[in-house]
Symmetry: C2
Subunit: 116 residues, 2 copies
Amino acid sequence: MRDPLSRTFAALADPTRRAMLARLAKGEANVSDLAEPFLKDMSLPAVTKHLKVLEGAGLITKGRKAQWRPCQLNGEPLREAVDWMEQHRIAWEAQLDRHGVYLKSKNRGIRHGRKK
Amino acid sequence: MRDPLSRTFAALADPTRRAMLARLAKGEANVSDLAEPFLKDMSLPAVTKHLKVLEGAGLITKGRKAQWRPCQLNGEPLREAVDWMEQHRIAWEAQLDRHGVYLKSKNRGIRHGRKK
DNA sequence: TCCATAATACACCAACTAGTTAATTAACAA
DNA sequence: TTGTTAATTAACTAGTTGGTGTATTATGGA
C-alpha cells in the first residue's frame, strides 16, 4: 500500500480535512463537533469517511466515551511531513545561492528565487 | 476545481513526484534526466504526467531549450504548505501544554508541548 | 532532405476518492 | 422495554488518478 508520507500528504490535500485538523489543534472534539461546520455541505457519513482518512494517516486518534468518539490531533506525522519539505526547500534555496540569485520575499524576509 | 494548498499537498502525495522534487532541489534538469531513475518502473508518458501535476501545483516551471524542457523547482508553494503545517502543529503543542501533557519524543530530541 | 532524439498528446483502463441514501450498531435514559 | 442520540456500515455512483501503448510534434544534425 501507500507509504506513510504519501498518506499524510494525501490526507492534507483536502480543505475539509485540513479544517478538521485546525479545529482539533484547538482541542479534543467529538465527531459531531467536527462535523457541525460541514453538515450544510455534506452528510455525516461523508464526515466519518474524512475522519477515517485522517486516522489512517495517523494524524488523529479516536477514543470512546459512551456513544461519543473524542478525537485528538497527533502531530507526529505532521512533523515528519514538515521535515521532508524543509529539507528540500533548504536544498533548493542553497542551490539558488550557488547560482548567485537573491530575491526579496513578497510577504516576509525569506529568500525567493527566479532564474537570472 | 481545487484550491492551491490542496493541489500542493496532492502533488506531494506521491513518492515518484517527491523524488523528482528532491532531484530538482539539487539543480535544473530535463524531463529525461528526471525520468531516468524511474524508467525501469514506468513509461515516459507516465513521467510527463507526474511533471504536469507538479507544474499544475506551481511546484516546478518548465522552460524550453531546443527539444529539451529544463525544469526548475519553485519553492513558493512548498513554503506555504510548511506554513500551514507549522501553524497547526504549534497550536496543537500549545494545546497539549494547557492540559499539562508532556511527551517524550520517540526518535529525537525534539521538543513536544513546550510553551513559550 | 532524412533521421534520431526529446517530449507530448491521445485513447484507453483499473483502482481509488468523495460523495450519496438507507440501514445498523451502541450507549444511555425514561 | 422503548426511544433518542452518536456514529458507523453498506451499497452505489460520478469523477479523478496513475498507469499503459501508440502516434505525433518539434528540434538539430548528417
